[in-house]
Amino acid sequence: MSDQAYIDQGPLIPRNRAAHPVPYDPDYKTSVPRSPNQPLLSMESTLSEETGPRFGHSMLGPLDNNLILNYSKDAAKPAVGERILMHGRVLDEMGRPVPHTLVEIWQANAGGRYRHVKDGYLAPLDPNFGGCGRTLTDENGCYEFLTIRPGAYPWPNRGNDWRPMHIHISVFGHSFGQRLITQMYFEGDPLIERCPIAATVKSRSQLDRLVAPLDMAKARPLDFLAYKFDIVLRGRRQTMFENRMEGL
């Protein structure tokens, strides 16, 4: 039996499922056998969703957020490709920054090939590119990665489907119920409109939020271009009527 009191910071705001991709989409064929048919069981969040793992700076290496160098670990052997800074803020639905939270990314190399046994695409591996990175947001919720722009790649789905250039992103937040994995696309890529995975997001304005704009204010002359990608996680409801005393 638990002798614990409920430490109440307010429940998570229920997820607006219309803001998310549909689970079942015949144009994305793998979603057909992998989407639940029955409705989800909805309930107010509990401690299991309101608490979550926290990670500290001690786990991070100095090159963890530098995908150009974190595989070769040698400044003379940078990854091949268009050098970019990917940066942004992690906020919650109340607009508050989410500080000190882990952000992980993974991506294909400049030719569109992943360093993964299952990826047999014609494009060659880059001996100096691994394809993963991680960082913690700062006290204002800001994060940044130095990487190369990934190439588009073909994938087996319909007859001739190609993934737009994209970077996969995983964010923790401070509650297990905030857990989110998404993908960042790049402004101006004509493949976004043709991608059945991007098209699982049915709201146009929501899909637009996955497309990072070119951000020349953050680009460094003669070095790298920049793309800005802000991420919003679920927020928590807290009112003056929350936390009411026993008997009130």
Binding site: Q4, N16, R34, M43, E44, W106, Q183
Partner: protein, 199 residues
């Protein structure tokens, strides 16, 4: 017209894709040398209080195929019902674990301590359970579910009580297969479809 609400909308999810392992558990995927070790390798450290248990299972797609590419994250309280970060929590219990389906068999294994009951906002208790989050290619938004235990008293658990079709409660309850051994299979579709959660 009315005032504009200044709340933001959550960023939409996208599938974790077939290569989620290289981002989240790169050493498992053969991508060595970037990090010293994968994040969330162990739910517990040596010396954690409570009963050490092993849960094995598979996740089946709608055709009955055990998926080889799924990745799981678990989050749980320690043996006395405290979560990591809460006062008095067992420092040997990380509470968080990342694990993947085996690439040849599709089976996963989670070794941890059996969690204690945890309090509810209403002053009641939740039966011991492990929160589970599942991502894979073809899953467009991570699936939430829970692992309860058949040898615990689940009768007063508020979440299980909400399941109208009582035969579906079983889909959230791990079966005891031996001392400290449990089996928990997950079905994405079909007559045995697991109850997935939205909370």
């Amino acid at each position: 017209m009315v005032q504009k609400l200044d709340t933001l909308v959550e960023t939409p999810s996208q599938t974790a894709g077939p290569y989620v392992h290289i981002g989240c558990i790169p050493s498992f995927a053969g991508l060595e040398g970037v990090y010293p070790e994968d994040l969330g390798l162990r739910a517990i450290e040596d010396g954690a209080e409570g009963e050490v248990i092993t849960i094995t299972g598979s996740i089946y797609d709608g055709t009955g195929w055990a998926m080889r590419d799924a990745m799981f994250e678990s989050w749980q309280a320690d043996a006395s019902g405290r979560f990591a970060g809460q006062q008095g929590a067992d420092p040997k219990v990380n509470g968080f674990c990342r694990f993947a389906a085996d690439k040849d068999t599709g089976e996963f294994t989670l070794t941890t301590v059996k969690p204690g009951a945890t309090p509810t906002r209403a002053g009641g208790q939740q039966a011991p359970h492990i929160a589970l989050w599942i991502v894979a290619r073809g899953i467009n938004i991570g699936l939430q579910t829970r692992i309860y235990f058949e040898d615990e008293d689940n009768s007063a658990d508020p979440l299980l009580a909400r399941i109208e079709q009582r035969n579906r409660v079983e889909t959230l309850v791990a079966k005891k297969t031996g001392e400290g051994q449990y089996r928990f299979d997950i079905y994405l579709q079909g007559a045995q479809e697991t109850v997935f959660l939205d909370l």
